[in-house]
Amino acid sequence: MILAGDRFLTRDFDLEHLYRIESYAARGGYQAAAKALKTMTPDEVLEEVKAANLRGRGGAGFPAGIKWGFVPRETDAPRYLCVNADEGEPGTFKDRYLMSHNPHRLLEGMILASYAVGIRTAYVYIRGEYGAIARRLEAAVTEAKASGWLGDHIAGTEFGLEVFIHRGAGSYICGEETALLESLEGKRGHPRLKPPFPASVGLFRCPTVINNVETICNIPDIILHGAEAFLRRGLSRDGGTRLFSVSGAVAKPGCYELPAGASLRELIFDRAGGMRLGRKLKAVIPGGLSAPVLLEKEIDIRLDGDSLVEAGSMLGSAGIIVIDDQTPMTMVLDKMAGFYAHESCGQCSPCRIGTAWMARIASRLRSGRRRDGDLETILRLAANIKGRTLCPMGDAAALPIAALVTKFRDELERTS
């Protein structure tokens, strides 16, 4: 964890025991919850989050306030909050840091979100591989309950919230919100058909809000200091700061908090120490593995949703993987294609079979057994998967693979 610059999400992360409630409270923790529960109505909390235009930090970038607004006002059914802590997008590890350093921040954000939407029960769906972090979260829940920040009558008000930590068991697709719900219901992680959307038919068929960890961790600040302050922190239309996970061939891999819209080149070369071992930069995957790759000449770009979409990629989970010039792209392609084939839930034909076929070709390419037409086949398969699958994982596989093959065509064709 590298700490520098203005820190909001990572504020106080240098404190060794920030994860304990006394430390968090001493540094202003749970003040936002107190403010909201005692002086604001749920609608006021919702409006503030809407005004902040807080875009989801999980990968889809959907504005949280608008998502919350989709939950029907009038309903007898219980409502649920599910925090998506599945963090499976390769190259992404920001939620790990947020949860292990400052679990109470997450809980406070959950209190605020639940208050705004009328939720009384919340689950944190955390990937199975984050066992130690799940235990830390459990401890935080216990502390919060003991201090009256969870359970009934929080801060002496009518509002109550139960939080349960639920561990996954190894499946990337469970990071997709409807697959997450299926998994939380004790089933295979098969994404659901949409519509209906989780806001109306979600967990146990009840209205449900699903938000990423980092998204929720932004809420206390927005409530305490207002939407305006949040918006102003960003350098472009996207407000606030973001945690950028930087890894790969850089000298200082780590989690960096920067304003939304910061420069990718600066992030890599100023903050993350530039290329390791004196190598040159060949390519950057800017938003987790599912984000189409950028060439060296394309990295003078702002790290915000709009700019990256315009460049034919996406900000996604802001997982930045830096690739050096000594790395053959056949290796990257093999890992990429193999990943999606391995993680495909298998429900729908284009993804189940298309990803497997692409992976088989990519594997052959890596071992030097290229045949004529291989690259065309991969591109054709990607084009036939894109937009044709039951859930967004089809695109998540097709787009980066197509981009890699297209942009590194010459190199791939020279292998044999």
Binding site: L193, E343, G346, C348, S349, I353, W357, L390
Partner: protein, 508 residues
């Protein structure tokens, strides 16, 4: 109602209808594998994707509800290309077993490939080898190289039978259909799985390798094996001269009927067709036939009519007994009532059918006859007679149907009926009952005649002969009508047209 345009046709449907269903109502079939009208939607095969004007992506028609003013294209170049792509992908994982696969000729994959693709395969990687003969239970085998993971089988067992024996194991390309060891498919509707499997992945031991689907002639009828009367299709191998071998029914399939059986039939009806060809009564037999030289059923009718007239003239009505069965059509029961009860004044008229058995809580009823309700509606008493009741002071006993032989033991029957002077049996089945009778006349099963049944729900439905009976057998209604004319009291009454009208009037 919602109005939309599909392929330039304007359709008007109920709100909540899916595009695929709306298209079907307009006579447009959209290819599909995982969709089934009676199962919960999956939306996973992606074959049914269509183009909707104004929407950037193709949408699955099986799970997209219609909206007012929607404009849908089901055969645009984009849609065809998407369809071909799904077919191509499925075929890379699919075993090219057509020459040895039961489903050939009635396989959706074949049909769609032919209609929309015919593209040569370009897949050049290793083809995944999978198990080809996984026993699932109920005589069903799963070939995992043919399975397209449409999950119809899983959804059927989850939502229709509620027995959930099958599931999908593993994930991604390694996904496979399987059951838990020691808990195979075991329910009265397991036969439906082979029928709903859109390809040849699930095959049925009852049908495996017996014939090619295109040799079968499909004939609709109603299943007579219980009181439900499900609509079925008998699929019959035509035999000589079209093909070598004797004609026989080789398979029974369900026929959709919203009011009675939905899309399903139970295993009793599906696998119980053997009675159509086995143990058939072939010839007029019995000592009486031999003695009097009765060769045809006309001979029988002439002789019987004379004997019955004589007995009535002598006032011996009380010494005559008749047994009909609730496997007879309503028309036949009506005719029997008219001839025996009304014209011949025989009061002792009983109904004997097969033994009741356990109902299955779904379609299969306890009563194992198709027309008990019809018999009841015509006023027949349904209390079962004892052999004593039949034999007491009886000079003449006429029995329709083989079911006495199933209700009573041979020694009992022999002993009880020994004292009855003349015993005539009209039956399609030779189950040994005939040896206690003086005259045995071969008749037909419901599949071999026209008629109506009234089922346990009170629904009356007509059916026509699915195929001709054995040449020596006579339909009970034809025999009864001739007998009625020959007995002479109301000869003009026994024409088919008059009969039909009177039957309608007789039913409440």
């Amino acid at each position: 109602m919602v109005r939309l345009v599909i392929d330039d046709r304007t359709v008007s449907v109920e709100p909540g209808t899916t595009i695929l269903e709306a298209a079907e109502q307009a006579g447009i079939e959209i290819p599909h594998l995982c969709y089934h009208p009676a199962l919960p939607k999956a939306g996973t095969c992606r074959l049914c994707a269509v183009e909707i004007e104004g929407q950037p992506k193709l949408e699955p028609s099986c799970s997209t509800e219609v909206r007012e003013g929607m404009v849908v294209r089901t055969e645009s170049p984009r849609v065809i290309e998407a369809r071909r792509s799904v077919l191509e992908l499925l075929l890379t994982e699919h075993a090219m077993d057509c020459p040895i696969c039961d489903k050939a000729g009635e396989c959706r994959l074949q049909d769609y490939y032919q209609a929309y693709s015919l593209a040569p395969g370009v897949y050049a990687e290793d083809k995944t080898r999978r198990e080809k003969k996984v026993p699932l239970g109920g005589g069903l085998l799963l070939d995992r190289e043919r399975c397209v993971l449409c999950t119809r089988c899983v959804r059927f067992l989850d939502s229709v039978t509620g027995t959930s024996e099958l599931g999908v194991f593993e994930r991604g390309i390694r996904s496979e259909i399987a059951c838990f060891e020691g808990r195979p498919v075991d329910n009265n509707y397991s036969g439906c799985l082979s029928e709903i499997c859109p390809v040849g992945a699930i095959t049925d031991a009852d049908f495996r390798f017996r014939t090619r689907s295109w040799f079968l002639e499909a004939k609709e009828t109603i299943c007579p094996l219980c009181g439900r009367g499900c609509r079925i299709v008998l699929e019959r191998h035509p035999g000589f001269p079209r093909l070598p071998g004797t004609a026989k029914v080789l398979r029974v399939r369900s026929r959709p009927d919203d009011l009675v059986n939905g899309h399903w039939i139970c295993n009793v009806g599906r696998y119980g067709y053997g009675y159509l060809e086995q143990e058939r009564c072939r010839d007029i037999a019995g000592p009486l036939a031999k003695r009097l030289g009765l060769k045809t059923w006309d001979d029988v009718v002439a002789h019987l009519a004379a004997r019955l007239r004589a007995l009535r003239l002598k006032g011996r009505q009380a010494h005559m007994a008749v047994v009909v069965s609730d496997w007879l059509t309503t028309e036949e029961l009506f005719l029997a009532g008219a001839v025996f009860q009304r014209d011949l004044e025989i009061g002792r008229c009983h109904v004997v059918g097969p033994r009741d058995d356990s109902p299955d809580g779904m379609l299969l009823t306890a009563e194992r006859s198709p027309n008990r309700a019809g018999a009841k509606a015509l006023g027949f008493g349904l209390e079962e007679p004892t052999l004593e009741d039949l034999a007491r002071d009886a000079e003449m006993l006429m029995v329709f149907g083989p079911f006495l032989g199933e209700k009573f033991r041979p020694d009992e029957i022999g002993a009880a009926l020994a004292g009855v002077k003349t015993k005539v049996l009209f039956t399609p089945r030779d189950n040994g009952l005939g040896r206690f009778f003086d005259l045995v006349v071969p008749t037909v099963w419901p599949a071999e005649k026209d008629g109506t049944f009234t089922n346990c729900q009170g629904l009356t439905r007509a059916f026509s002969a699915a195929f001709a009976p054995p040449s020596s057998a006579v339909e009970e209604w034809r025999l009864l009508a001739a007998l009625g004319r020959a007995v002479g009291r109301n000869p003009h009454f026994y024409t088919p047209l008059r009969c039909a009208g009177d039957v309608r009037r007789a039913m409440p």
